[in-house]
Symmetry: C2
Subunit: 429 residues, 2 copies
C-alpha cells in the first residue's frame, strides 16, 4: 500500500469554472482521500469571476478604494470553497471550508497585492484530525486588523504553497488547465515538450518572463520553504511537471525552455550628449514614480553623442514616457521615442552555470533568421534578447530548434560533475 501522505491540491479558475468542473475536483480529491491521504484543497475563484468583479468596480470608479475591492474580490473564492465543500459532503466526504481569516492566513495590509506573513496551521490540523477534507479559499488573507486582503493575480498558487509549507505537506499539487511546464509555449511552438522536472530557479526565471504556469511569488515561497510543486492538469490524469531543488533533478538539461513576452515597452533618448550625470537625470524621475526599468543599453558613442534605450513594463509606459518627455530638453537630447512593438525572448537553464556558448548559439540562431537584437540582458541562468514583436514566435521556434529541444531527451545531460558529458551544442549557423 502507498504510504499515507499529507497533500495540498490547488485548483485554478478553469478547474472550478462551473458545478460540473467542481464535481470533477471533488472526485479527484475524494480519490486522493480514499488512498488514505490527508488532504487540503486550495481553490481559486471561478474563471472570469475576478475579472467580472473588477469590471463592476471600474463602473463605479477607475480608482476604487482598494480595501473594499478586496472585500468584493474575496467573495469569488468564498463561493467556490463553499460549493466544493457542499459537493464533497453530498457524496459522503466530510469536509469543511476555511476562508483566509478563518485559517488564519496573516498578511500585510497592501490591499490587492498583500504578502503572506505567516499561516496559523492549528485550524487546518484540527479539521484534518477530524478526518475532514479541508478546503481553503486561495488568493485571500487578513491583516492584523481583520481586514480582508488579496494577494494579487495568481495569488492562489502562493496560498497553496504557503499552506503546504505551514502544515509541512509532503507535496503540493497545482492543478491547472495546462499539463505542466513546457520547453516553450505549445501555442507558439508545436515541438514544445513537457518537462518532467524543473528547478525552482529555472521556474522563477521562466515565470517572470512569460511562462504563465505559476505565479512568481509562489515559486519563491516554494523555494524558500523547500516545497515540491507538482504542476498538472485537472482535465486528465497525465503526469505533470515537478518543480524542485536543482540537486534533486534527475534528468538535467542545459536549457530548460524558451520563453517570450510582450509585456514591455522600449523608450529611447536619441542623440544624448555624453556628459556625466546624464543617466541619473533620465532614470531618477522614473524610479521616483516606482516604475521598474529592466533592460538598459547605451549605443556606442559618435560625435560625443549616444542613444540611450531602456524597457519599462507596458502598463507603466504612458507614465514613463511622459516623465521622459520632461527630461529631453534638460539633457539636451534630440528627442525621445517610444516603442511598444517589442518582445523579449529568453533562453533559461541552470546548465548555463557550467556551459559556455549559450549566448553565441542564441545570437547566431537569431541572426540566421535576420532577427535584429535590440538589447541583451542576462542572469546566471538566463539570456534574454529584446527583438521586434513581430519576430517573437519565429524566434521561439528557432531557438527551440537551436538548443536541441525539439527532440525528446537530446538536450538532457548531467552537466556538472556527472559521468555523462554535456551534449555538444552548436548553432545552426
Amino acid at each position: 500500500m502507498e504510504k499515507m501522505a499529507l497533500i495540498v491540491q490547488k485548483y485554478g479558475g478553469t478547474s472550478v469554472a462551473n458545478l460540473e468542473r467542481i464535481k470533477e475536483v471533488a472526485r479527484r480529491a475524494a480519490k486522493t482521500f480514499d488512498r488514505g491521504n490527508d488532504i487540503v484543497v486550495v481553490l481559486s475563484a471561478m474563471a472570469g469571476e475576478t475579472d467580472r468583479f473588477i469590471e463592476l468596480a471600474n463602473r463605479i470608479s477607475h480608482s476604487v478604494n482598494k480595501r473594499e475591492l478586496d472585500v468584493l474580490l474575496a467573495t469569488g473564492e468564498q463561493s467556490t470553497v463553499a460549493l466544493l465543500a457542499m459537493t464533497l459532503e453530498s457524496i459522503g466526504y466530510p469536509s469543511a471550508s476555511l476562508l483566509g481569516h478563518q485559517v488564519k492566513i496573516h498578511t500585510d495590509s497592501f490591499f490587492g497585492s498583500a504578502r503572506i506573513a505567516d499561516i496559523d496551521s492549528d485550524n487546518i490540523k484540527k479539521l484534518l484530525g477530524q478526518k475532514k477534507i479541508v478546503i481553503i479559499a486561495g488568493f485571500q488573507g487578513c491583516d492584523q486588523h481583520q481586514n480582508i486582503t488579496t494577494l494579487g493575480r495568481g495569488g492562489s498558487d502562493t496560498s497553496a504553497v504557503a499552506v503546504a509549507a505551514a502544515i509541512k505537506a509532503d507535496k503540493c499539487e497545482i492543478y491547472t488547465d495546462v499539463e505542466g511546464v513546457f520547453t516553450a509555449d505549445p501555442n507558439i511552438c508545436s515541438k514544445a515538450r513537457k518537462l518532467k522536472e524543473i528547478s525552482y530557479e529555472e521556474m522563477l526565471e521562466m515565470a517572470s518572463i512569460g511562462a504563465k504556469v505559476l505565479q512568481t511569488r509562489s515559486v519563491e515561497f516554494a523555494k524558500k520553504y523547500n516545497v515540491a510543486l507538482h504542476v498538472r492538469s485537472s482535465f486528465n490524469d497525465k503526469e505533470g511537471t515537478v518543480v524542485l531543488e536543482e540537486n534533486l533533478i534527475t534528468e538535467k538539461m542545459v536549457v530548460a525552455g524558451i520563453t517570450s513576452s510582450k509585456n514591455e515597452a522600449l523608450i529611447t533618448f536619441k542623440k544624448v550628449p555624453d556628459t556625466p550625470g546624464i543617466a541619473a537625470k533620465i532614470f531618477k524621475p522614473i524610479a521616483e514614480a516606482n516604475i521598474i526599468v529592466d533592460m538598459i543599453v547605451q549605443n556606442s558613442l559618435k560625435d560625443q553623442q549616444t542613444d540611450i534605450s531602456f524597457t519599462v513594463p507596458i502598463s507603466d509606459f504612458k507614465k514613463a514616457f511622459e516623465l521622459s518627455e520632461k527630461v529631453v530638453k534638460k539633457i539636451a537630447s534630440q528627442e525621445v521615442v517610444g516603442d511598444k512593438n517589442i518582445a523579449r525572448v529568453s533562453v533559461t537553464g541552470v546548465g548555463m552555470k557550467s556551459h559556455s556558448g549559450i549566448a553565441s548559439t542564441m545570437f547566431s540562431a537569431l541572426a540566421q533568421e535576420n532577427i535584429n537584437i535590440i538589447i541583451v540582458s542576462t542572469s546566471e541562468i538566463r539570456i534574454s534578447c529584446l527583438i521586434e514583436a513581430k519576430y517573437a514566435e519565429l524566434a521561439v521556434r528557432t531557438l527551440h530548434t537551436a538548443f536541441n529541444l525539439d527532440n525528446d531527451k537530446s538536450n538532457v545531460s548531467l552537466y556538472y560533475g556527472g559521468k555523462k558529458t554535456a551534449p555538444k551544442i552548436t548553432a545552426k549557423s
Copy 2:
C-alpha cells in the same frame, strides 16, 4: 439646525439590486451624513442573489451542508457592502465595510437561522469616530468558532435593529420597496392606507401573519431594546411608518390592519370517537417532528363522535399528513383529510384590548359575504379566521370596509383614557 443624531439605515435587496440603485443608496446616506449625523448602513444582498445561491446549492444536493450554504449565502451581502463603500468613497465620503465577523455580530451555531447573541460595538464606534460612514453586511454573523452564520429570510432587518440597539442609535430606518405599513395589502385592497405609526405588538402580529414588511424577529428585537423603527421606501422621499411603543403612538386606532396569508394547510380527522387521550395521540407525533400546530378546533359532539381539525405550516404539510395517516387507525377515526386551499384572514389592533364587538363585527361582515369560517383563533390584539382560500381577497376588502379603514382617519381614536371617545364600530349586517 437639526440636532445631530446617530442613525442606522437598512436597505433591502431591491434597494441595492444594481449599481444604479446602489448609487441612489449612496446619495441618500451621503445626504444624511451631510446633515451632521453619524450613520451606519446595513445592507441586504442584491435582490434575487440569495435565491440564485440556493438554486445553485440545490443543483448539488437537496440537503446541502448548512454550514457551507451559509458561507455561500454570506457572499451576497459581502458584495453589496463592498460596492456601496466603493461608491461612497468615489463621491468623496470616507466609508468602510464590516462583515459579520468583523463587527463582530456573535450568533449561536444554528446555520441558516442563527440568532444574534450579542454585538460588539467597538469597531463600529471606532470607525464612526473617524467620521466614516460604516457599512455593515446584514443577514450574517459568526459563531464562537468563527464559523459564518446567516439569520434566515429577512435577517438583515434583524441585523439593523440589533446594531441600532448595540450602538444605541437614535433611530433605525428600514428602507424597502414599499412605502410603509398599510392597513391592508394594497395589491389586494385598493383602499388600503399607509399607517403613520404602529405599535410593536401590532406589527408583530401583522408580520407573523402575512404583512411582509419586516421580519418578525427584527420587531421582537426592536420591542425588546426599544428601538424606534422607521419603515420607508428607498424609491422616493415620502414619510413611511414608524413602529414604536404603544404609549408613544399619537393617533391610536382600534384596528390597525387587515392581513391575509395562505401559508397554512388544514388537516381534519373525521369521526373521531370521543375518548380521553385522543388529542395527545394525534398531536404527539406531530410535535415530536417539530411541526408547529397553530389553530385547532373540535366540532360539536354527535353520536359520541367528533371531527378534529388543525393547521400546520404549508411547508410541513406533507410530513404532518403522513404522520396523521399513521394515527388514523390507532384512534379509530374514520379518515384523515388534508386541505391546502385555505387562507387565514386577520384583524389586528391594540384597541381590541379595550373595545368589545370586534369579533362580532368580523363574523358578521364575513357572513354578509357568505364566507364560511372554518376556525377562529384570537390573541389579545388579533382575531384570525380560517376561510376558503378563494375568498381571501374578498374577505380582506370586506373587513377593511367593515372596520372603517377605507376612509382616512375615521378609524383613529384615543381608545383608552383619552378625551376622545372611540368610534362606533358596527358591522354592516
